[in-house]
């Protein structure tokens, strides 16, 4: 019990605690509703990108009976808009081809913002990040008459629309 303005008052009463809980819950709920208003679809987008590339590389390689080589423009071959991978891109794609035979040279081809490659290591370590790009990795085995190749596709996207 303390005296405030000459009146005795309880600083910690049940009413005060109830009021603090009501205000606190309201503030938390309002903040959560406001800030979780944004839908981050980066992971879904990178999964779709990786899937599309994997399917395209496999089908085109099988049809040609040879794994696509280093001179292939993978984005144009797979109906992906290459303009989105230039300048300040919000996408990144890495295609790593590891041939089974020793005659052909393995290669890695990258498109888009190389900085996102580091983000993949972070997000793959299962660290939750809201503002990092999200990655997906697909590994496929492509057969051909020379023994085929292991192809690893890393796709990354950073969801960002714009108000106009």
């Amino acid at each position: 019990m303390v005296k405030i303005n000459g009146k005795r008052a309880n600083l910690l009463s049940a009413w005060w605690i109830l009021v603090i809980i009501i205000i606190g819950s309201g503030l938390v709920a309002g903040t959560l509703l406001f800030f979780f208003n944004y839908a981050n679809v980066s992971l879904a987008e990178s999964e779709i990108l990786a899937n599309n590339l994997a399917r395209c590389i496999f089908e085109k390689s099988v049809n040609a009976n040879e794994v696509l080589d280093e001179n292939t423009d993978f984005l144009n071959e797979c109906s992906i808009n290459s303009e989105l991978f230039t300048g300040s891109s919000r996408y990144f794609v890495k295609i790593n081809v590891d041939y089974s035979d020793s005659e052909r040279t393995d290669f890695v081809k990258k498109y888009g913002a190389n900085a996102y490659e580091k983000d993949c290591e972070i997000t793959h370590a299962k660290i939750k990040t809201k503002y990092f790009s999200q990655c997906d990795i697909k590994k496929i085995k492509v057969p051909d008459e020379k023994g085929g190749a292991d192809v690893e596709i890393t796709a990354s996207s950073k969801s960002s629309g714009r108000q106009i």
Binding site: W15, V19, G26, G30, T31, N37, A39, N51, N52, N81
Partner: protein
Amino acid sequence: MNKKGEELVIEQVIFIVLNIVFVGLLLAFAYKTSSSAFTFEQRYAKEIALLIDSTADNSALKLDVTEAYEIAKKNNIPKEEMIVISDKEVILKLSGEKGYAYPYFHKVSIDKIGGISYEDKKEDSGNERVFVNIILGNAGGENENGQD
């Protein structure tokens, strides 16, 4: 209860009521923000962009856009201006102020002839649903009928 006690109780009650009104206003604002045109613009733009990305060439998409249409109707936005698809991005406009654009990476052409159309459908329950049909050509600009 004596007079001092009565005053104390009234003060506390008024204080609690004011707090509840404040919290109610805060929640109402947050709810209004989350159900505003911006939220639906963002949601549908991303949904359509992801659908375009994941669909094969020469396909057709059909999406229920009833909720978006209701908001556009309230803001006097005609159906034809609600969804615009350029060669790079999907643009949703449900209010008179701004729209929301989201890019897609799949190189397709949105067929100029009947590329985007709307369909009204009445359910058995009597509710009206609005669907958008989007025809996707291939990157060369042809649709499945071979038209440019």
